[in-house]
Amino acid sequence: MGKGGSNIDRPKEEGPTMSKVQVKVPTPLRSFTGGTSIAEAEGSTVGEVLRALVTEYHALEKHLFGAGGQLRNFVTVYLNDEDVRYLRRDATPVRSGDVLSIVPSIAGGSPAEAVRGAGRPVPLVGLAEGDEELGPPLTRDQMRRYSRHLLLPEVGVRGQRKLRASKVLLVGAGGLGAPAALYLAGAGVGEIGLVDFDRVEVSNLQRQVLYGTHDIGRPKLEAARDRLNDLNPDVVVRIHEQHLTSENALDILRPYDVILDGTDNFPTRYLVNDATVLLGKPNVYGSIYRFEGQASVFDARRGPCYRCLYPEPPPPGLVPSCAEGGVLGVLPGLVGTIQATETVKLLLGIGESLIGRLVLFDALALRFRELRLRKNPDCVICGTHPTQTGLIDYPAFCGVAAEDTTPAGAKPPQMTPEALAARLAAEDPPMVIDVRNPSEWEIAHLPGATLIPLPDLPQRVTELARARELVLYCHTGRRSAQGAQLLVELGFTHVSNLAGGIEAWAQKVDPTMPRY
């Protein structure tokens, strides 16, 4: 090594120091270390430590080093939590007590690199290969219905029978679940399960192509079952009209081969992720935001999971929730059909899956990007030493639960729509501040109100008179509660929040007001 240790920040010593370092060995490589998951080796740099390691465990050498003695480029090494490729690679200095983690990267989901369940090939989905598992031959009607699949050698009669013998669960029958369900039913997936508990609302129809105007007010799953049965009577549609919770998630997911995550909230995403990791099932992930989307396949047996990407949900209130943000109607169509594509490929066992890759879509730029994801060896649920063995119910982020996270005591008072109407008609009316976005203001706003979008409020407090009574409102009362809280913290004393927002005003005071 020679020059390591010369200009780096460590105690003054003569020459490079030998440090004792722990090396975490991933499951697939433990057969070369006699089953050891944590080995110790000495050296002053990453390269020296790894060479010391293979001196002890000869069989490891060809897995870590190429013929020229350089680290193989598909081997990723972390020093504590840093990828050494972004430090100084082999020459990165180490200190005693450091932990090196060897992470085999996932090349197209080769079962040989499975992290959990090494040694045995991991079946792609629950389906075995025997003909008896594929059920009876296709009927004449099915031959005609699926002829465009049968003509593809990658699918063929056998592939079509595989699809018919498969079971897919869609968590969420909204923007993502709707197109995915339609294409999976059309493709002849034998059993489609749906988890949702909402009713169809008119504002859903801009993007949730599973439903029609005549479905407004019906439970979504009832409407979905009718539509899917009409599209393909071969498909068995199972409905799970309930919230997914830590209590029921494992039981609901267990019978299915592939889980498609099309939910609209973080708590359910983490439940779906953790349950699929624990059950050893692929989780076909999609998520959307305004004009952007993400999609991947998480399969902890062969690659990273959602927690490897985002270890914990963000704090409530940081990301605009379900109802607050707009979304381009066609966007979930794009992302949901990517999810359906990946699901069909997994069921058929064809192509290169999105395992280990995150696809990012930007509709405004019309650009797809792709990022390589790696398993986080320290992931609490799928890492080398998982500490989470059960499911977690995170507090709901949408609706009322998030409001309760504001500290009690300092909460600004609520004003009902009726009380505000009376105050506005009386002498010395309060100043009414609309903290929504300008696009929402354009749909409807309260008479005499002033628009100060919540993000601008901190800079614009100077426009507000401290002595005057102020009433803040937004769509449903959540953002304005944050705004009112902020004003209270800044020393405003006559601040209240319109309970239920402009939505409640439209219901209680002015029924002619447009709702959204």
Binding site: Y86, L87, T263, S287, Y289, L360, L371
Partner: protein, 85 residues
């Protein structure tokens, strides 16, 4: 010759900054992800809470820590989580 790092901004980070990307000047000798983020937050304080939960990628590969070195010509992407469906 480029002296800057391109910072790609997604979702809430894009809204906080009001742009899909910014070019951020770095010394020719390079810098670290941490230093770059500190500079960005100084200019756009509303980014700070968003960065906490975001994943970062350097030249198309996720980086886990913030000590990674970056230099002129690199591309850093900030990916906040979102959960819409």
């Amino acid at each position: 010759m480029t002296r800057s790092v391109r910072v790609l901004l997604f979702a809430t980070a894009r809204e906080a900054v009001g742009a899909a990307s910014v070019d951020w000047e770095v010394p020719a000798s390079g810098s670290t992800v941490r230093a770059l983020l500190a500079g960005l937050v100084e200019e756009h304080p509303q980014l700070e809470p968003i960065l906490k939960g975001s994943r970062l990628a350097c030249n198309g590969v996720y980086v886990r820590g913030r000590r990674a070195r970056i230099g002129p010509g690199d591309e850093i992407a900030i990916h906040p989580p979102y959960s819409g469906g």
